[in-house]
Amino acid sequence: MPLPLFILFSALTLGFAVAVIANRNPVTAALCLVVSFVGLAALFIGLSAFFIGIVQILVYAGAVMVLFLFIIMLMDIEEEERKHFDRLRTAGGIAVGIGVAFLIGGVLWDFDYGKASLDDVPVQFEAAITLREADADSGIVRSANATAALREGRLKDVALVGEKLFNDYNLHLQMIAVLILIATIGVVTLGKKDSPAPDSGSSGGDKASES
């Protein structure tokens, strides 16, 4: 990812994330979070994690935040009033913030900037192809599609993620499916009482379909 783009998207992500916390209007906060998530997705894509980046937009910006906005609009939540801050708590919060800043600063200080660019860690296509072919010969399931793409010098992210997911994380995937089913049932039960909750169940269903 070129440096100007990286700076642009990280500024977008961080700036709008701060705006989420600083804004008192809930609709504005939700929309700032959407922009922040889109910037984050761009950062993911810059790290050649295309699938995760798109899923970030699809799930967070496309489904979860719409749900938030929907609830905010339906419940007609007004702006929060300005309130007095508890002195002790504010001081504590600032102290923790300064501590974290020092921690991050310390890590950055010690960081070896020699390997800070993605160009220094290029994807090693030849090594990957040989290893994958050896794996395929010894009976481990390897997507031929992805290997062919690697041979053309393309990183076929989705095929590789899918391969990993269904080879090594199959049980986890099924557990997630059960979890989402339970969440859907829970949401429907919670929302059912007098009038049906405004579409809260849809997100659960959405996720179930994606996994």
């Binding site: 989420v20 916390i21 809930p26 939700a30 979070l33 922040s36 998530f37 984050l40 993911f44 790290l47 994690a49 699938f51 995760i52 970030q56 799930v59 967070y60 489904a63 979860v64 749900l67 938030f68 609830i71 905010i72 419940m75 939540i77 309130k83 801050f85 708590r89 504010t90 919060g93 860690v121 994807v123 090693q124 296509f125 090594a127 990957a128 290893l131 994958r132 990183l155 590789l160 993620v161 990993k164 997911l165 090594d168 994380y169 986890h172 997630i176 979890l179 989402i180 969440a183 859907t184 949401v187 919670l190 929302g191 009482k193 007098d194 909750a197 809260s200 997100s203 996720k207 994606e210």
Partner: protein, 84 residues
Amino acid sequence: MIIRRSALVILMCLEIMLSAANLALVAFSRFRLEAGLPDYDGQMLVFFVITVAAAEVAVGLAIVVALFRSRRTIDVTTLTSMSH
């Protein structure tokens, strides 16, 4: 939590925190090559975090709606009936 009292905004901030962790995971998965390719184990964890977070938001929002229905407010500082 310190300056925001709306349960909805607290849920949003939770998402930001999870996203920060996700970004770190994806960045490390890209920089730590495994067999010449990005380490997809890290991205798997991100994938699961995103899925679970979506489920968590659905449940959280349902709870907020139920809360709003019974109390007509979602200000977390007024929900103190358990402490008396």
